[in-house]
Symmetry: C2
């Protein structure tokens, strides 16, 4: 029996995580649930799963907890000996400190929230090595790479991340300025949370994945490629030194990589997951990434290569920019402009400690919200 | 240093095997070479690789052997303690007894010649288990499956073998009767020997691969599918119980699976192998197999499911039929008719011993050459 806490249990990945847990009652048990503000759903989840702990950052729940369930801080939850694995399905920078806390408590961490790795990949991976805990990717692309690396000597020759191209891949460039949040949220292949869906439309999400893959698999940036694959069937590929490639394929459904991380290294059958029918699948195509269409991707890779606190600032500025866009206070095409402005004003720190990361994050958020000097 | 004997060194796979060996002089050493009748090339190969042994079934070589090289029987070669691995790149049934000999001598066997596994899969795999030796697939499809199974729990849920569809995939059915050997030998994606190229045009080769995969990976026939994939980039796929699929991809080049078998589990870089460029690759498509076009495939699977000596008879009758076709003594569309006639007249033996296999092989060849009762 694997004891799990789900941080961000009421979000898209959190709910799908519980959907997987429901399928494996003999194997997975929910020890803790935590959510930001969807208190009604959190209470319902607590009533169904009867975890030892719930945590809600936003005041009291709208009803009594089931017997045996108590409120607790994230720190108490993550220190509990019944917990084996923390599913971190929070959004943006919020996951960073809980991830560090889980690692220090010797818990495996399933990473559905990639911004913390973008912000502090060096610190997180070093701490995980020190504590001897596993970092399990949950995003479909790093999960695909992780699956393809099973049983193979490391390092591979090259990683090839696939990208659907997001909701606006075919929109004429001159129309991008007027894109509404509703249009940008219509992802062609994946149903996901709002932040990641906008990051997919700008391809910032793909830059984040490159950074995440760099840290999780220890691969230099020069050996990580990105190709546009509009069908979202091939979730990523690995090239080996002999020139052979392996790919992982499935219909786009986050429950598969979630289950893989939760049950690893086992692959129990799950009738709830659709099985890929290659015959009925559209032709699989791969196209070069048009960097002119996706300035956020270029900015992201630049920040990654510069290193130090730049990726932290990248993630923080992007989080502010996406939030402003979703609240109709920033045009879509100003997302990269805002991120670029903040990056260009940053005085970086190399080999930052966790405090430096947190300071850079705060600085970048303030800077992003400051009126632009025109 | 891995000591290798190459059986069938002057054929297509034999020559490509030596091409791989040339790239890894620190790792692979040729201990023995054997060929059927291409004595000039065998002598040249002996002069280049200076093996301890050469064997030629067809009389003296056209010149002196280099110092340190002597003629030997296959049995002497395969018993030599310097030999670690036998690359069996012979054609048709000819590989069966050498494979058994290699296994009994405790040598790993790289299987480029699949007919022996079709004829006697049960006996070969049981003998390999008893002797504790590895059977390493060399054909691109079973190699792909083997690569995809690395590091995964067995059994997988399903194997999906890809088939290019051969040289005649798009020829109107009514024209197949008049197909010449030259037309049937124009394989769209692979350069191979004549027998396997004709077997690819009839798809008998794919039935053989299903049988080979059944024995090598221990998968029931009901869990092995075949799809037409005209681009020959995805060499096969494995589906796991959780619904995730892995595929192995590369340009069609036999040197890759040969190298994988020779260097397994390592994947050393080889500048001589082309690296797949996904962007420049045509869209990858998967189509159902049109069994009306490929009666040999259906016959092959029927023989496989019936088991006993039927697959032996299948392989033997096909070998005679393909030979007759190549010598213009049988129309292309009579290949399945001849195979079906022989199968229908066979009195099978279940759980056959090796002598029963050899007897069924001889019977089928005689029967195939006997004038048809009309």
């Amino acid at each position: 029996m694997k004891g799990i806490v789900v941080l961000g249990s009421t979000g898209s990945i959190g709910q799908q995580t519980l959907d997987v847990v429901r399928r494996f009652p003999e194997e997975l048990s929910v020890v803790g649930l935590s959510a930001w503000s969807n208190k009604g759903l959190l209470l319902k989840q607590a009533q169904e799963f009867r975890p030892a702990f719930v945590s809600c950052q936003d005041g009291p729940l709208p009803g009594p907890l089931p017997p045996g369930t108590q409120r607790a801080s994230l720190g108490e939850m993550l220190a509990d000996p019944r917990v084996d694995l923390a599913m971190v399905a929070t959004v943006g920078a919020a996951g960073l400190l809980p991830i560090m806390e889980a690692i220090r408590n010797g818990k495996s961490v399933a990473l559905a929230n990639k911004e913390p790795v973008v912000m502090a990949g060096d610190i997180i991976t070093a701490e995980a090595r020190r504590a001897g805990v596993q970092l399990l990717p949950v995003d479909s692309e790093p999960s695909a790479i992780w699956q393809c690396l099973q049983g193979e000597e490391r390092p591979p020759a090259r990683l090839i991340l696939t990208a659907s191209g997001g909701a606006l891949r075919e929109m004429p460039l001159e129309e991008l300025e007027k894109v509404t949040p509703e249009e940008a949220l219509k992802h062609p292949t994946w149903k996901m949370g709002k932040k990641i869906t906008i990051d997919s439309a700008t391809l910032m999400n793909k830059a984040f994945e490159v950074i995440e893959a760099h840290w999780l698999f220890g691969i230099p940036y020069a050996k990580i490629d990105v190709v546009i694959h509009p069908q979202s069937i091939v979730h990523s590929l690995v090239e080996f030194p002999d020139g052979s490639l392996k790919a992982q394929l499935s219909y786009p459904d986050m429950r598969l990589p979630i289950q893989y991380a939760l049950c690893y290294p086992r692959r129990p059958p799950n009738d709830g997951l659709p099985h890929l029918d290659l015959i009925r699948t559209a032709a699989l195509t791969f196209e070069p990434l048009d960097t002119g269409r996706y300035p956020c991707f270029t900015l992201g890779l630049e920040a990654a290569r510069l290193g130090g606190t730049y990726p932290t600032v990248l993630a923080a500025a992007d989080e502010v920019a996406v939030d402003l866009f979703l609240r109709r206070r920033l045009p879509f095409t100003d997302i990269p402009r805002l991120v670029e402005r903040v990056l260009s004003q940053h005085v970086p720190r190399q080999a930052p400690a966790l405090e430096d990361i947190l300071a850079a994050d705060t600085w970048a958020r303030n800077e992003a919200l400051a009126p632009a000097e025109v």
